[in-house]
């Protein structure tokens, strides 16, 4: 662990529209995510969860405040540098699988590396390692349509972590999966910090998946209203925790 958060929000405000039509998605959000930490983000629809991820991935820019990745303020990066950040440091997994259907599984995983100028042969080697991480190393050359939804999401995770990215942003990654596949995907995400030191920010509606996180933060109307961690179980429910053991 280092002292520098891998991801940090400082007084971040994000609004859309202007004047009377202005709508606030985030209102003064402060958040620090350590390397290797798993954070779950919960809250009602429209509370700003996805906006928070978009800002972390430099897919949008804040209206005020700062978003820093590994200490670097994203506002100080050129568009080219922001694109490089998305390819090298920050991986993104969406609810929709977003795999390129005409590429094989391993080619999909190689894609960000090749876009970053890594030679095909080297990119394939690194991509195979990532496919191994998600348990699909035996099915490198099959096409996305040949895989189940859960397997496709694991390929998407391989693509999002390939090249030792330091932050993985997952926006409802289990939304299109059945329970068994969803469990496998979240279990996989939760192992990434220990194996690679990757920090994971997981947006989810599901308490069972949020429970994998080190910390759970709650958004309401664009503000963080509370957070919980396993070490914060209040004394009054300790007897219940005892029963759960």
């Amino acid at each position: 662990m280092t002292d520098t958060p891998i991801l940090q929000f400082v007084d971040v405000v994000k609004s859309f529209g202007a004047g009377v039509a202005e709508v606030y998605a985030l209102r003064g959000v402060n958040l620090a995510v350590d390397p290797g930490e798993v954070i779950a983000v919960m809250g009602p629809s429209g509370c700003g969860k996805s906006t928070l991820l978009h800002l972390a991935g430099a897919l949008e820019t804040p209206s005020a405040g700062r978003v820093l990745v590994a200490g670097d303020d994203l506002a100080g990066l050129t568009l080219h540098q922001q694109a490089a950040l998305r390819r090298r440091d920050v991986g993104y997994v969406f609810q929709r699988l977003n795999l390129v259907p005409s590429l094989t599984a391993v080619e999909n995983v190689m894609l960000p590396l090749e876009l970053d100028g890594v030679a095909s042969r080297a990119a394939r080697g690194v991509a195979i390692e990532a496919m191994h991480t998600v348990g699909l190393e035996q099915q490198l050359d099959r096409y996305p349509d040949d895989f189940s939804g859960g397997q496709q999401q694991r390929i998407a995770i391989a693509r999002a972590i390939v090249g030792e990215r330091r932050v993985l942003l997952a926006d409802e990654p289990t939304g299109s999966l059945d329970t068994a596949n969803a469990d496998q995907v979240v279990e996989l995400l939760a192992t990434l910090p220990e194996r690679f030191g990757t920090a994971v920010v997981l947006v989810t509606h599901e308490p069972r998946f949020a429970s994998y996180a080190d910390r759970i933060i709650f958004l309401r109307d664009g503000s963080i209203i509370d957070e919980s961690s396993a070490s914060d179980v209040p004394p009054s429910i300790e007897p219940l925790v005892g029963m759960l053991r």
Binding site: R208, A210, I225, D226, E227, P234, I237, V241, M243, L244
Partner: protein
């Protein structure tokens, strides 16, 4: 279920002594229902009075011998009726969380939302603690023995109920936000207690400051 049904169920496997029934009852209920042996004998006496169990003849003849009990035909019938009766929530149970939320709403939207938040945080913290423990056990290769099935099922039930409570709290929050119910602004509002239990937590801002890694 009352102790009565539990004892009938255990006796359907054959005659039992009172102390046997106590230990088997506690094992079958996953350790969440400790029984006093006096309760067992009191219940057996009532079941005997009602003709649902009988004392075994051999035991009844000697005062010093432990009494052994068996199910009668009427007891078997009563047990069958219990197995086939499906519990329904009619009228709705007086659930502590549900009633607390209903009372909280009476104190205005903001107070109710604060109660939602504090309870949700507590329940999620509990689920996190359980998840962490399960993953540690898996990593250590610990597999619960088969005879702990009852305890596992109790555990599963508690986890699933916590998840159900969390879903319900989400619904409460959504409905409160959609209702546009105004917060109470009269003098009574200033006298109400903000939710301290069950979480008694520092404010989010303070904890975020504490959590923030420089």
């Amino acid at each position: 279920m009352a102790v009565r049904e539990g004892l009938l169920s255990l006796l359907s496997d054959g005659p039992r002594y009172g102390y046997q029934l106590k230990t088997q009852f506690e094992a079958a209920t996953g350790g969440i229902w400790p029984l006093n042996v006096g309760q067992v004998y009191t219940t057996l006496d009532r079941l005997n009075r009602d003709g649902l169990v009988g004392e075994l003849a051999a035991a009844a003849e000697t005062e010093t011998a432990q009494k052994s009990y068996e199910l009668t035909a009427a007891g078997r019938e009563a047990l069958g009726a219990w197995w086939s009766t499906v519990p329904v929530d009619e009228p709705p149970p007086r659930d502590e969380l549900m009633l607390k939320m209903l009372m909280a709403i009476d104190h205005g939207r903001d107070h109710a939302l604060a109660v939602v938040t504090s309870h949700r945080t507590a329940l999620l913290g509990l689920l996190q603690a359980r998840r962490r423990e399960a993953r540690q056990q898996t990593a250590a290769g610990v597999t619960p023995p088969h005879d702990l099935l009852a305890a596992q099922l109790v555990h599963d039930a508690l986890v699933v109920r916590a998840e159900a409570d969390l879903r319900w709290l989400d619904l409460c929050e959504s409905r409160l936000l959609a209702s546009g119910q105004p917060d109470r602004t009269d003098g009574a509002a200033s006298e109400r207690s903000e939710p301290a239990g069950p979480t008694a937590r520092p404010t989010p801002a303070r904890r975020l400051t504490r959590k923030a890694r420089r």
